[in-house]
Symmetry: C2
Subunit: 209 residues, 2 copies
DNA sequence: TTATCTTTGTGAATCAATTCACAACTTGGC
DNA sequence: GCCAAGTTGTGAATTGATTCACAAAGATAA
């Protein structure tokens, strides 16, 4: 089965979350234009994405929500689930832990790492916190495949080396330092400052017109 | 002057930050391929972006770093600076406040808002914290043009309404709820869960090959 | 039965972003 | 002074993402 384009994966993730909300208001079916409206995109875009899942709607009723959530799940999720670690339990790490806690049944946040002795050994936001010295062994024994880097910048490069060595498969990097990792590790970087500067630029532009 | 494509703006922001780092190691010139290497993109990409700035290198020496930083600045930054508010001083708001503090001289984080009485009236991470009831008036009197939404999901829609009414010009939304705003407000949304699900998907895919 | 309505699924077209390919150009070496 | 080297700037080509445009289909109503 073909690997989906990154953009489509992002939107599928969004579709699913919106659909889960809709379930609560016991809606059964949804039209492509309704879903599009919620996400502020076009209906064709939605249909294209769903097309890639090879799933079809019920005629003139739209897509059955429950079924659609399921179909998205079978494509996006790993059947066995995947274990995730938060690396750096500062404010950002905490925020993520809270956000992610229990939100996706197939993504289990199973460990956090920090250097702060106050935190080590404690369970914070439902997640056990280990020292950095236990990073390698814990990632291996707990079969953690995804690491979320939320350490302060000065520590980023050093910690990244450790993480790479530990045999992790994917890294989501919230550090401001762009990382270099071997090509068998999937790396996704997000930089909040860049986002803010982008907003600032377009505000400036819109303003001057 | 032409408005730059969003992608280019993002990269320019990155270039500048990397270049500022390089200054500290008193490097004077940089080749396009060096900058490309740091950001893990191609040299042509870098040159294309810089081309849009209408700025040229010194022959066979590369781009003078100091000058390049300046040129990026005159294009991205608002001369007068722009004021930013953090809306929701939870973990994520705190993380952002710390990150952004002083990092961009033209982006002044001048206020934060929260409902927590413990926080209101205090100065946290160098930023004065107000109650939500003072949101509208503070945004107006302090001439805040950018709002960073870091409130919990349940509050997102309600707070967004307030923010839109306050006459803000741009919103960076870290909430998981997609917002609908009038077209004269620039909206940038970022969803951490989607990023994590994307990493999870590609880890799964890479693994099964 | 037949016409009408509405929404989908998708080929083709368009628009946007990236990469290829190379002429142009100084500078440093000889 | 001339040649070789190395890097840039950019037109053209390619790749990727989005939108257009419309045939297809089955439910509904007359």
């Amino acid at each position: 089965m073909e690997t989906l384009p990154g953009k489509t994966v992002e939107r599928l993730s969004q579709y699913r979350r919106r659909l889960l909300n809709l379930l609560e208001e016991d809606k059964e079916f949804i039209f492509s234009h309704e879903l599009a409206e919620i996400l502020q995109i076009t209906a064709v875009q939605v249909r294209r994405d769903l097309m890639l899942l090879g799933y079809s709607s019920v005629y003139r009723k739209g897509y059955p929500i429950r079924k659609l959530i399921e179909v998205i799940g079978t494509r996006l999720d790993n059947v066995k689930g995947q274990n995730v670690a938060i690396i750096g339990m500062g404010n950002l790490g905490m925020a993520l832990s809270h956000y992610l806690y229990g939100i996706r049944p197939k993504l289990n946040i199973v460990a956090a790492f920090d250097i702060d002795k106050e935190k080590i050994g404690k369970t914070i936001a439902g997640i056990e916190c280990f020292g950095m010295d236990r990073l390698d062994s814990t990632i291996r024994t707990m079969d953690i495949s995804i690491g979320v880097m939320t350490v302060p910048q000065f520590a980023a490069l050093e910690v990244a080396k450790l993480v790479v060595k530990s045999g992790i498969k994917g890294i989501l990097n919230f550090t401001h330092i762009p990382l270099h990792v071997p090509s068998d590790i999937y790396l996704e970087e997000y930089d909040m400052i860049t986002s803010l500067e982008k907003v600032a630029y377009f505000v400036k532009e819109l303003d001057s017109q």
